[in-house]
C-alpha cells in the first residue's frame, strides 16, 4: 500500500488538516451529542422498565393507558425541531465546501483504473502525488477516463465522485506542512483498494520551487523509475515479486521471451518495454486481458527511460 498514514486525532476522527475539517468536525460533534443524548433518552427508561416491570406473577395487572395526546405530541415535536436544527448544522459546512474561493489554485485530476494523475496549470504532470501549497485554497477539477472513482482525503474531510463524461470539482485549503493519504471510495474493480495517492503539502516557497522544477531530483534512473512505479500505481497490476497480477510480473521481465496473444513471441527488450508503456495494448502477453491504459502523451521520455532502467534492475 503506497500511501502515507492517516493521522488519527481522537477515537473517532483523523486530524483536522484542512480549513473545512474543523467546520465538519463541529457538525460531527453535534451529531454525536444528539446521538448520545437520544441513546440515553431511550435506554434509561428501557432499562428501568425492564427491571421494574419484570413479570411477578400471572396476576399482574398491566396499564391500560393506550394513548396520550400530550406526550405523543411532545415526542414528535421535540425530535422534529432537533433534526431540523441538525439539518442546518450539516448544511453550512457543505455550502462552504461547494463554493471554491475565486483565487483558488486549480489542479486537474484524472482518475483511471487504478491511478490518480494531477496536472498543473504550467503543464507539470504529477502521477500519484498531489503537491499543494500550505494556506492557499486549491480547487480540483476532476474527471475519469473509464468508470466512476471517488477522491477522498480523510484528513481534509472531503470526498467527491469522479465521473466519466463530466467534470466534478471540489476545493480545500491545507493547514499544515505534511503528507497524507488519498483513497478511492467508489468501487472500481480489481485494483480499487490499491488506488491510493499522496497529498504533499509544502510551504508556499517550497511549492513554487517544486512547481518550477518538478519532482526530478538527481537520482539514478533505476531509482527514479522505482519512484515512478509507486506514483503511477503500476504495482496495482504488475507485481515485482514474480506472482501473477492483473498484468504480468515485472520481475525478470527484461530480456525474457514472451508469448503474445496472437501466437507470436517477442523478446522483452527496451523497445518492447517502451511500446508497452506508451501504447499498452499493442502486444499483449498471452493469458492477460488488454486492459492497461495507454500512457502516450502523459509520460515524458525521461520517465520512460527511468521505468525501463527500473525494470532492468528487477532480475
Amino acid at each position: 500500500m503506497s500511501a502515507p498514514k492517516i493521522e488519527i486525532d481522537s477515537l473517532w476522527l483523523p486530524k483536522a488538516s484542512s480549513t473545512l475539517a474543523g467546520q465538519v468536525d463541529t457538525a460531527w460533534n453535534w451529531a454525536m451529542a444528539n446521538a448520545v443524548v437520544f441513546f440515553f433518552i431511550v435506554m434509561i427508561p428501557l432499562g428501568y422498565f425492564m427491571v421494574k416491570y419484570k413479570k411477578k406473577s400471572d396476576a399482574d395487572v398491566t396499564s391500560t393507558l393506550a394513548h396520550s395526546t400530550l406526550i405523543e405530541t411532545v415526542w414528535t415535536v421535540i425530535p422534529t425541531v432537533v433534526v431540523m436544527a441538525l439539518f442546518f448544522v450539516g448544511l453550512w459546512p457543505y455550502l462552504s465546501a461547494a463554493v471554491p474561493p475565486k483565487d483558488a489554485f486549480e489542479v486537474q485530476v484524472t482518475a483511471q483504473k487504478w491511478a490518480w494523475t494531477f496536472t498543473y496549470p504550467n503543464g507539470t504532470v504529477s502521477p500519484g502525488k498531489l503537491v499543494v501549497p500550505q494556506g492557499r485554497p486549491v480547487k480540483l477539477v476532476m474527471s475519469s477516463t473509464d468508470v466512476i472513482h471517488s477522491f477522498f482525503v480523510p484528513e481534509f474531510r472531503i470526498k467527491q465522485d469522479v465521473v466519466p463524461g463530466m467534470y466534478t470539482t471540489m476545493w480545500f485549503e491545507a493547514k499544515d506542512v505534511e503528507e497524507t493519504a488519498v483513497l478511492c471510495t467508489e468501487y472500481c474493480g480489481t485494483g480499487h483498494s490499491e488506488m491510493l495517492a499522496t497529498v504533499q503539502v509544502l510551504a508556499a516557497p517550497a511549492f513554487d520551487q517544486w512547481l518550477e522544477a518538478g519532482d526530478d531530483k538527481n537520482l539514478p534512473p533505476a531509482e527514479k523509475g522505482k519512484a515512478l512505479y509507486g506514483q503511477w500505481a503500476c504495482g496495482s497490476c504488475h507485481p515485482i515479486d514474480g506472482t501473477r497480477g492483473v498484468g504480468p510480473s515485472l520481475k525478470g521481465l527484461y530480456g525474457r521471451n514472451e508469448e503474445l496473444t496472437d501466437g507470436s513471441s517477442v523478446k522483452a527488450d527496451e523497445n518492447y518495454l517502451r511500446e508497452s508503456i506508451l501504447v499498452s495494448t499493442a502486444k499483449v502477453v498471452k493469458g492477460f486481458a488488454p486492459v492497461m491504459p495507454a500512457f502516450q502523451g502523459q509520460i515524458k521520455d525521461a520517465q520512460v527511460d527511468a521505468l525501463i532502467a527500473y525494470i532492468k534492475a528487477l532480475q
Binding site: V24, K56, T76
Partner: protein, 548 residues
C-alpha cells in the same frame, strides 16, 4: 395469561378444530403436495426454507470476507475473488433474503390468519410468486458457474456495463425476483382490504398487518422502477443503447437515480415488516396494550410515503447539484421522525407491563438497542457535510448493518421464535434460545460497532487491501463475526432440533390475543373451523370490567 384479560377463548383453540388430528402440515403428503399447494401456510414455509438457505449462504460469504480482512494484503482470496464474494454477499442478502424474508415467510403464514380468512386473496398468484422467487434465484446462482459478478450489489454504471463478469445473469435474476415481490405485495393489499373477518376494522388489526400493508404499497410502486432500470442495464450491455455509458452518450449518474428510486424505498420494504413484528413481540410478552397504536400505524404509512422522496441521499457526493442534495437532506430528516416515534412507543409499551423474558422478548429488546444505534447513526449520514466525510466508508457499512441486521434480522429471528410453535406445533428450548440470542447480540456488536470507528477514521468500504493502521480494528471485527456466526448456528440448531425433540406446542403458548392464537398449533388447512368473529382487539390486555 394476564389475569382478567378478555379470554373468550379459554379453550385450547377457539376456532381451531384439531380433533381430527389433521393440520396443514400433515393434511397431504409428498413432494408434489408441497410444490403444487396453494395453501398460504405451506407457501410461507417454503419461503421460510428458501430465504433461510439464502441467509446461510450469504452469511458464510460474510464470514469468508471477514476472514480475508483479518490482515491487510492477501490471505487466501485474490482481489477478484474478494470483489465477487462481497458482491454476491450483498446481492444474496438483499434480493434473496431480506426483501422477501418477512413478507414471504411470516407474512404469508400470518396475514390471512390474522384477518380471519382461509387464504390470501389470490392463492395461485401466491404460488406463482414463490416459483418466480426460485427462478430468480437460479439466475443469480447461475452467475457463479459463468464467472461470478464483481460490480457490488448496486450495479453502478459504467462499471457494470463494461465489466466482463456475469452481470446480465444476476440482474435478470433480480428482475424476476421483483415480480415475486410485487405479487406478494398485491396479495397482501387485496387480502387486507377485502378478506377481513367480521369485527376486524382497520384499527383492530394487529400492527404487523399495518406494517405489511405499508410494505406492500412500496413493493408495488417501487419495484417496477427497478425492473425498468435493470432491463435498461441489460440492454446497455447487450446492445450498447447509450443510456448510462458516457462513451455512448449516456449518463452514469442517471443509473444511480433510477437505482436508488427503487432501492431506497426497498430499505423500507426491509425494515417495516421487522418493525411490525416488534409491535407483536413487545405487546404479547409484556401483556400490555400497545401505547400509541394509531401513531405506530400512521408512522408506517408515513415512512412508506416519505421514503419515496429521499433516494438522493445516497448520492450526496455523486455529482448531483447542491440544491438537489440540500432538498434530499432535508427530506431525509423528515423520514427520521416517524421511526423515532415508533421507538418511543415501543419503550412506553413496556411501562407498567408484565415483562416475561422469553426468547422473543429478548430479541425485541435487542432490536430496540440496535435499531436505536442504527437510527441515530443515520442522522450523521443525513447531515450533508458529515456525509461528505463518511459516505462510502465503513461507517455506512456499520450503519446499514445495524438497521438491516440489528433491526430486520433480529426482529425476524425474534418473530420466528414467537410464531415457531404456531407454525410447527413444537416448542423450542427456551434456555438455548436465550443463550443464542445473547451470543448473537454480543457478536453483532463486536463485529459492527468497531466498523463505525473504522469508517469515521477513513477506511473505505469494498476494500480488499487496506492501510496497516486499520488492522487491529479489522481483526476485532473478524473475531466478532465468529461469535455472531456461532450464535446463529445455535439458533438454527435449537429450532431444527425442536421439530423432532421439542415439546408439543399449545394453541396459545404466550397468551396472545390476535386471531392466530385462536386456532390450533399448527393450524388446520382452512385456518379456522368456522369464520371467526372478533370479540376483542389484538392488544386488549385489560382487567375484566375495566373501562378503557
Amino acid at each position: 395469561m394476564a389475569q382478567g384479560a378478555i379470554t373468550d377463548t379459554t379453550g385450547p383453540a377457539g376456532y381451531g378444530d384439531a380433533s381430527s388430528g389433521k393440520n396443514y402440515l400433515n393434511a397431504e403428503k409428498g413432494f408434489l403436495s408441497w410444490v403444487t399447494t396453494v395453501d398460504h401456510k405451506r407457501i410461507g414455509m417454503m419461503y421460510l426454507a428458501s430465504v433461510l438457505t439464502a441467509f446461510l449462504l450469504g452469511g458464510l460469504m460474510a464470514l469468508v470476507l471477514r476472514l480475508e480482512l483479518m490482515k491487510p494484503g492477501k490471505q487466501f482470496l485474490t482481489a477478484d475473488q474478494y470483489n465477487q464474494a462481497f458482491t454476491l454477499h450483498g446481492a444474496l442478502m438483499v434480493f434473496l433474503f431480506i426483501i422477501p424474508a418477512i413478507p414471504g415467510s411470516l407474512g404469508n403464514f400470518l396475514v390471512p390468519i390474522m384477518v380471519g380468512a382461509k387464504d390470501v386473496a389470490f392463492p395461485k398468484l401466491n404460488l406463482l410468486s414463490i416459483y418466480l422467487y426460485w427462478s430468480g434465484a437460479v439466475f443469480m446462482f447461475a452467475s457463479l458457474l459463468i464467472g461470478g459478478i464483481d460490480t457490488g450489489w448496486t450495479f453502478y454504471t459504467p462499471y457494470s456495463s463494461t465489466t466482463s463478469t456475469a452481470v446480465i445473469s444476476v440482474t435478470f435474476g433480480a428482475f424476476i425476483l421483483g415480480f415475486s415481490s410485487i405479487l406478494t405485495g398485491l396479495n397482501f393489499i387485496v387480502t387486507i382490504h377485502k378478506l377481513r373477518a367480521p369485527g376486524i376494522t382497520w384499527f383492530k388489526m394487529p400492527l404487523l398487518l399495518w406494517a405489511l400493508y405499508a410494505t406492500s404499497v412500496v413493493q408495488i410502486l417501487a419495484t417496477p422502477v427497478l425492473a425498468i432500470t435493470l432491463l435498461l442495464l441489460i440492454f446497455e450491455r447487450a446492445f450498447s443503447i447509450g443510456i448510462f455509458d458516457p462513451r455512448l452518450g449516456g449518463d452514469p449518474v442517471l443509473f444511480q437515480h433510477f437505482f436508488w428510486f427503487y432501492s431506497h424505498p426497498a430499505v423500507y420494504i426491509m425494515i417495516l415488516p421487522g418493525m411490525g413484528i416488534i409491535n407483536e413481540l413487545i405487546a404479547v410478552h409484556a401483556k400490555r396494550t400497545v401505547f400509541g397504536y394509531k401513531a405506530i400505524a400512521y408512522s408506517s404509512m408515513a415512512i412508506a410515503l416519505i421514503g419515496f422522496l429521499v433516494w438522493g441521499h445516497h448520492m450526496f457526493v455523486a455529482g448531483q447539484s447542491e440544491l438537489a442534495a440540500t432538498i434530499f437532506s432535508f427530506l431525509t430528516f423528515l423520514v427520521a421522525i416517524p421511526s423515532g416515534v415508533k421507538v418511543f412507543n415501543w419503550v412506553s409499551t413496556l411501562w407498567k407491563g408484565s415483562i416475561s423474558y422469553t426468547t422473543p422478548m429478548m430479541y425485541a429488546i435487542s432490536f430496540l438497542f440496535l435499531f436505536t444505534i442504527g437510527g441515530l447513526t443515520g442522522i450523521f449520514l443525513g447531515m450533508l457535510s458529515v456525509n461528505m466525510h463518511l459516505t462510502d466508508t465503513y461507517f455506512v457499512v456499520a450503519h446499514f448493518h445495524y438497521v438491516m441486521m440489528g433491526g430486520t434480522v433480529i426482529a425476524f429471528i425474534g418473530g420466528l421464535h414467537h410464531w415457531w410453535p404456531k407454525m410447527t406445533g413444537r416448542m423450542y428450548d427456551e434456555t438455548v434460545g436465550k443463550i443464542a440470542c445473547a451470543l448473537v447480540f454480543v457478536g453483532f456488536n463486536a463485529t459492527f460497532f468497531v466498523q463505525f470507528i473504522l469508517g469515521s477514521r477513513g477506511m473505505p468500504r469494498r476494500y480488499y487491501n487496506y492501510l496497516d493502521q486499520f488492522q487491529p480494528l479489522h481483526a476485532f471485527s473478524t473475531v466478532g463475526s465468529w461469535i455472531l456466526g456461532a450464535g446463529l448456528v445455535l439458533v438454527a440448531w435449537n429450532l431444527i432440533r425442536s421439530i423432532t425433540k421439542g415439546a408439543i406446542a399449545p394453541a396459545n403458548p404466550w397468551g396472545g390475543l390476535s386471531l392466530e392464537w385462536e386456532t390450533a398449533s399448527p393450524p388446520i388447512t382452512e385456518n379456522f373451523a368456522e369464520t371467526p368473529i372478533l370479540k376483542h382487539g389484538p392488544y386488549d390486555y385489560f382487567p375484566a370490567g375495566s373501562k378503557h
